[in-house]
Symmetry: D2
Subunit: 300 residues, 4 copies
């Protein structure tokens, strides 16, 4: 079943500033290969893994758990953007190697953040998908450099970027020659403090109206609360997102960062089964999980 | 099936400022009678109708259409809060009478906004449910007055109110002696301009975690775009809201206000059928619509 | 010396929604009588007093102190808008009587908040100037009622109101027949938490560009920090505001509300002397303070 | 006369995350050499110049004009951060050369933006002061690289950064070994649209309370309106900022970017004379302008 998205806008005479990103120049949804999957089509793509790559048992164990649960892509941060210079900055290349081991173990593609244009060569030698973090969403030099690659780029919306600015940032990458951009809504900064950010699910609609690029949702960073992740994930599926990015850690209480928003493997598995069952009702599917008896879903 | 909401927080030693509103003092979900229905339970409550009550054919026709489509409650504004004093201010008592006619025609309860404590007697002589608009969310005098009634109060979140402030506003009504408060998330004001407001679905989770009061979502005022209403409605159901408020107008292009965000009766009916089918997957039901083609419906 | 304000905009063909409030229909600055003073002219008007009227010694003592220090108008809250229903709500009519005593003692006019249209008759029987609080900035019923008076109305900008909405709120009062509106910038709500609100001094410029109404600044409520009040007051004078509203309490540590942002009488007096000296450099004067040591004062 | 700043906070037992940036570890104001001047002391430092370096006559002409008017530092952008990849990106090294010519002509130091760690070597070979733009305020890789230099870094506050985050970004540079950081408040993003950003002058107070680093204000980018620059500049001086960054263009109507917010040389000269006269009243001086007859100030 084709994914149902907001109806394409009536053709406009004039393309906006984000020409290549715009549906005016490219009316069909983009289908972007991610490892052995495709995003932007019926498959509801799940990227999962820990916030940071830590020691081997953690990374490999979590990678295996999320794969078994049906994730399509493994995530993990080797280069961490931290507000404070004294916080854990990530394992750098050591972390990239562990991610590569995780890929070898699971057969799943890996996505990881690249923070600087000087790191692009190194990170792209390991990663299948390169991520641009929210705080680098308007690091135009980095975006230009990523435009020179062919690999898919997962572009996170800036904390304070309008949808227009978000699409213009994507335009930097497409204008450089790389059409493989996946957008990610991860919450915006508002006055509300009950959540870490305010998840703006309407942006999924605005993006799909204005652009052909696929868009996923990160409910973990948006809410900052592990027990909000499942309901927000369901809402993201319902609103028409093409997938999710979920933080999963084998031992959230002892995670080096973002423990409060990470699911443990058991919770992640349960969420995946729920999404598996719900997906067809929203024009999606999760083919990485075998069909099962819905009544036994909680027992699996 | 009981509605699934966020797990109740572990009992806290100390109740917050919003004592009566808080789950600490009232751990069970509140069930509030609305006409012949109950909100806060399995029934996913839909309030629908035009932004403003206009001429009789419009109000009665729209009321009939939304009832046939399965709405539980009729809405319509007789007293309109307009930014400018020169905009249409509403039909006042004339509008209340038309709403009463709509109730007589359809058998459905009516909800309408009361803007001032001086109007409470008048409005409550007609309305079954009184609504406090977003711009009056901290009109404490009005809230105190409504606390003296028994009728249900639909309290909209202020454009700029945190969830904490929202619950404190509810507390004014409960502290006055009226426990029948339904909260409504209708979007908050942020820097983003692609939607009229930014719908904050996470607030539904925060509210249900902190309070026992039912909470509905108004995707019409939140987005300001008719074609966003259906997907946002599904997302609201998915995140665990207790219902929706939807603007419906028999002729949106000629509505006296909010035409761009109103559904026409055909679109509303289609949305209701979709929600009917989806509801059971989220622990809800819409019993006002008969079961129809089994291939379109899961077994409720 | 005439106060220097932003140059009037070139005449526009079409008046905006806030017609009477706009400079297009009224190019000259409005001069509004306040007690024995006039605001909107060269005199830099200072309104000062406690957040809430408390017991007699406090109100009368503080009133005397601020008068001696050069304030033009006494403020004090008898009806307090509190987020929580359990917080001190104000002394109501008892408080109004104490304010009247303060007027009798000092000879200065009093300004106090009216929260509801049902209180307008009572409050206007005591107050010289009626204040609309930030949370009632779009309480259109209240604004309409105040439009029926002749007394000056001090209208505070809503926490989340644009300048356009602010001027439309003023329009409700002018459209009712009352031209005596003084606007007050008191900070807007943003994501920044180092201050209680974010003081938006640019709004003074936007207001003076679009409207003829006088505008004062409330640095106390804006910052929430007593030690920020003096520098923000000087900045407000420098940007071209017509005056200030300052919270002063004889014993801030024991104030019933807003103690952290209140100046004590000594601090207030010191601030007044500083403003007295600075005023002529910005086209203003404070005539309520006698010229003092020439080395501390520029020639006025 | 020593600059008057907010009183240092009482010594705290525990330093915040931004240790080296904090007044707890460094109670005295930092004095940072900028060219032949020092910022953080009594001299009110003015950085002025066009948004972008354009053709030679423009850059050299404007540089000369601002020097004659009393500016301390020349600014100009050679690498421009533009939301859209199709907008003018700056003259790059060609622009740096023109800036160097401007330095040679005027004897004034130059400040220019560096957008990427790969450009640091190139830009620092020309510039005296390197600027980090608002959209790179949390480009941690860039901040780390700049921490390895000795040259002064002008760090702009991010559009959506709290003061805490701003100081943590500065900490990256100090932690790298470079103590020469000047902070710049340039407005934050809010819901208000009458100005391009919302200038947050209170942040100057918060910064000076928490940190020893000097802080200047950029009223040009904050307001986006040339006719707001003068009053906001005066307000910045009054609130206690250590200086200003002002956009000046010899022909604003034809500027390649930011024309609406640029002053022409005549307006800039007039503003400098006004600031010269006002500075001593706020504990500052502008020694680059000869003392003149204040009564002739407008005629100069």
């Amino acid at each position: 079943m084709e994914p149902t998205c907001s109806p394409a806008p009536k053709p406009q005479a004039k393309a906006p500033a984000y020409k290549l990103t715009s549906r005016v120049t490219h009316p069909q949804n983009s289908l972007i290969p991610l490892g052995s999957f495709v995003i932007g089509g019926p498959e509801f793509i799940i990227m999962a893994g820990p916030c940071s790559v830590e020691a081997d048992p953690q990374m490999l164990g979590t990678a295996w758990d999320v794969k078994v649960a049906g994730a399509h892509i493994i995530r993990g941060g080797a280069f961490k953007p931290r507000s404070s210079p004294y916080s854990f900055q990530g394992l750098a290349e050591e972390g990239l190697k562990k991610l590569a081991s995780a890929r070898e173990l699971t057969g799943l593609a890996i996505v990881t953040e690249v923070m600087d244009s000087t790191d692009v060569d190194l990170v792209s030698s390991y990663a299948d998908i390169l991520q641009v973090g929210a705080r680098n969403a308007q690091n135009f030099s980095l975006l230009k450099r990523l435009g020179q690659l062919n690999k898919p780029i997962l572009l996170k919306r800036g904390l304070m970027n309008t949808v227009e600015e978000f699409l213009c940032s994507a335009e930097y990458i497409l204008a450089g020659g790389n059409p493989n951009v996946i957008l990610c809504e991860r919450g915006i900064r508002t006055f509300e403090t009950s959540t870490r950010n305010t998840l703006d699910l309407s942006s999924v609609l605005a993006i799909k109206e204005k652009s052909h690029l696929p868009v996923i949702v990160d409910p973990s960073h948006a809410s900052g609360k592990a027990h909000y992740v499942a309901p927000l994930s369901k809402a993201a599926l319902a609103v028409g997102a093409d997938g999710l990015m979920i933080e999963v850690h084998c031992d959230p209480a002892n995670a080096l960062c973002d423990g409060e928003e990470s699911l443990n493997p058991e919770q992640f598995k349960e969420l995946m089964l729920t999404l598996k069952d719900l997906a067809p009702h929203f024009g999606r599917q999760i083919s990485t999980i075998a069909n099962h008896n819905p009544q036994l879903a909680e027992n699996a």
